[in-house]
């Protein structure tokens, strides 16, 4: 997940599909995000590289749609419904996730264990 400016980022990602839960007029996904290019990356507890300004999942509410779909705390969100999440501000990220007319959000998330698992499986062959 190292970020070299100007180079394409290549990571192992996992597709997660979250179905929004409608609670009256509120639509919730069941997790919290932190990070963004306008935020302070050094306070991010989940990132390996403390200059990483990506959007991270900071909390997953128990039993919510996100946990059901397989989202874990500490995941970094790379794409939401095709919209890029690697170079967005915190507010832009929030807006992309909470569009009122969408019921399903398809995320591409990455975490460290994914890469380790892929590498392990590659070594076994």
């Amino acid at each position: 997940m190292s970020f070299i400016p100007g180079q394409p980022v290549s990571t192992v990602v996992q597709r997660i599909e979250i179905h929004k839960l409608r609670d009256g007029d509120n639509v919730i996904l069941g997790f919290s995000i932190g990070g963004g290019i306008d935020q302070d990356p050094s306070q991010n507890p989940f990132s390996e590289d403390k200059t990483d300004k990506g959007i991270y999942v900071t909390r997953v509410s128990k039993g919510g749609p996100a946990e059901v779909a397989g989202l874990r705390m500490g995941d970094r969100i790379m794409q939401v419904n095709g919209w890029d999440m690697t170079m967005v501000t915190h507010d832009q990220a929030r807006k992309k996730l909470t569009k009122k007319n969408e019921d399903v959000v398809r995320l591409l998330v990455t975490r460290k264990t994914l890469e380790d698992a892929v590498r392990q499986s590659m070594m076994q062959h």
Binding site: G34, D40, R59, T98
Partner: protein, 529 residues
């Protein structure tokens, strides 16, 4: 017991003033027991027969070892209580008086005489230059015009300024007597002498011999002499006064007996001048030298060696074995001392804790006694003084009136902190009168007894530091250098002085534009979606 009377006079008097004879006897008994302790070590002198070991080393020719078992009976002990005894302090005082009276006054008077003669010569030379033509060939002299007479005024005022300047710089009471000549002064005196001589030479050859008629030229010559003398005086100020003002060296001064240390920043001085500056500061910066405080460590050191005695079981082995015996014995002693379980650190710890407690207790009693004594005295106002109602006292009588109530507590405190030889009863009463006159609080009165002050605070006879000797490997007129070490020795202790150069400071500059102070908020917000 005549030696005891001078020291017990204080306590004896206080015993008498309290009206109890028993107390006076008790304090004298305490004195007697003290003289046996090491705190009065300067009073009793014990001479023992020397131990057998070094004698063997010298007389290596003798084959047999002679051990004198009767040495205990032939020991001579001289204590301070014998009839015609002189205590150590008396001896020191007598020798000091002798030194003071003989003095090196001839050296000082010689210096003063030489400088006065030089000053007179310098002062009278321009006047002589101006007057001599009028005396020797007045008829051939061309009359002095206005410009020339204007020069007379200038000569007069410059001479006056020179006179005042020389008086201000050179005719001050001397601070100290230096062992060697003061190099800069000698150089300047030589320079002035050569200068004046060369002017006289020129004058004598070109003007007196040829009997020059141009008086204006002669007057201008005299004016140039006075100008040059003023410039030499400027040189003297720079060399003698200004050059050493800029700090260049940092001197670390340590007292050899108790390790009290001070640091001074001095400029480029010769060693003897630096020594004078250090001694002037010693009297105000260092706490007074108290020999009674050093006896504890000496007794501890004696106890370390006293427990071990080396026996030579095999007997002497020959001529050059004597030195070998001494060496091996000392090595054996060191090894044994290292191996045995020494509990003297334990004793030291408890002794110091006990002493601390005792001092604090006595101090508390003293403070309370003094505060209570001070409440008995009340200052009378001017109006009340007019209607004098009997018992009116001046400060000295008031001090004598309240002194007995605090005398005992003060005496006990001074004894515990081993300061009793620094203060006489007279000096305490004087200080009390002084404090009463100046409206000082009891705390202000006690301050000079609770803490040891600098040497200047006490009377001259308590200083134990009057005659100083400068001991140095480099010549004392050479300048200070990084790493110069010299000693200032007094009779009882010495001051060790080491020199270090003050580092060269390279300052760099950084400019910060006041408009460049800008700040941003760093957030880390968390949003639930």
């Amino acid at each position: 017991m005549d030696t005891e009377s001078t020291y017990s006079g204080y306590s004896y008097y206080s015993g008498r003033s309290r009206g109890s004879h028993r107390h006076g006897e008790r304090s004298r008994d305490r004195h007697k027991s003290r003289s046996k302790e090491s705190s009065r070590s300067e009073k009793s002198v014990t001479i023992n027969a020397p131990p057998a070991e070094p004698l063997l080393g010298e007389q290596s020719v003798r084959g047999e070892e002679v051990q004198d078992d009767n040495w205990g009976e032939t020991t001579t002990a001289v204590t301070g209580t014998s009839e015609h005894s002189l205590s150590q302090e008396d001896i020191v005082r007598i020798s000091k008086d002798l030194d003071d009276s003989v003095g090196l006054d001839c050296k000082r008077y010689l210096n003063v005489a030489l400088s006065v003669i030089l000053g007179l010569v310098v002062l009278l030379t321009p006047l002589a230059f101006l007057i001599l033509p009028h005396l020797l060939w007045p008829d051939r002299l061309r009359a002095c015009g206005t410009a020339c007479e204007g020069l007379f005024i200038s000569v007069a005022f410059k001479l006056l300024i020179l006179l005042l300047a020389v008086w201000a710089l050179f005719f001050r009471p001397p601070r100290a007597g230096l062992p060697r000549i003061f190099v800069f002064r000698a150089l300047l005196a030589t320079l002035v002498l050569l200068f004046v001589l060369s002017y006289w030479l020129f004058y004598g050859v070109r003007i007196l011999d040829s009997q020059d008629e141009d008086y204006q030229g002669i007057v201008q010559y005299a004016v140039s002499l006075v100008d040059a003398l003023l410039f030499i005086h400027y040189l003297a100020i720079v060399l003698l006064e200004l050059r050493q003002l800029q700090p260049f060296f940092s001197l670390c001064v340590t007292r050899s007996t108790d390790g009290a240390t001070q640091h001074y920043n001095l400029g480029q001085l010769s060693i003897q001048r630096a020594a004078v500056v250090i001694l002037e500061n010693y009297y105000k910066d260092f706490p007074v030298h108290n020999p009674a405080m050093l006896t504890a460590s000496k007794s501890r050191a004696a106890k370390h060696l006293a427990g071990l005695k080396v026996y030579n079981v095999d007997g002497p082995g020959g001529n050059n074995a004597a030195a070998g015996i001494a060496q091996s014995q000392s090595r054996a002693m060191i090894a044994a001392a290292a191996r045995r379980r020494d509990s003297s650190h334990n004793e030291l710890y408890y002794e110091e804790a006990e002493h601390e407690r005792r001092v604090r207790k006595r101090r508390a009693r003293l403070v309370v006694a003094v505060e209570e004594a001070f409440t008995h005295i009340c200052r009378m106002q001017e109006e009340e003084q007019k209607k004098a109602s009997g018992d009116v006292m001046d400060p000295r009588e008031a001090a004598q009136a309240i002194f007995p109530s605090m005398a005992r507590a003060l005496q006990k405190y001074l004894r515990t902190t081993r300061q009793q030889h620094l203060h006489s009863m007279e000096s305490i009463q004087q200080h009390l009168a002084f404090c009463i006159t100046n409206n000082m609080t009891p705390k202000a009165f006690l301050e000079s007894y609770l803490t040891t002050g600098p040497t200047l605070q006490y009377g001259k006879d308590r200083w134990l530091a009057r005659q100083w000797t400068l001991i140095s490997e480099a010549s004392v007129t050479s300048g200070l250098n990084d790493g110069t070490i010299f000693l200032l020795k007094c009779i009882d202790f010495s001051l060790v002085v080491t020199t270090k150069k003050i580092p060269y400071i390279q300052l760099a500059e950084e400019f910060i534009d006041p408009k460049s102070h800008k700040f941003v908020l760093r957030l880390q917000s968390e949003t639930s979606v």
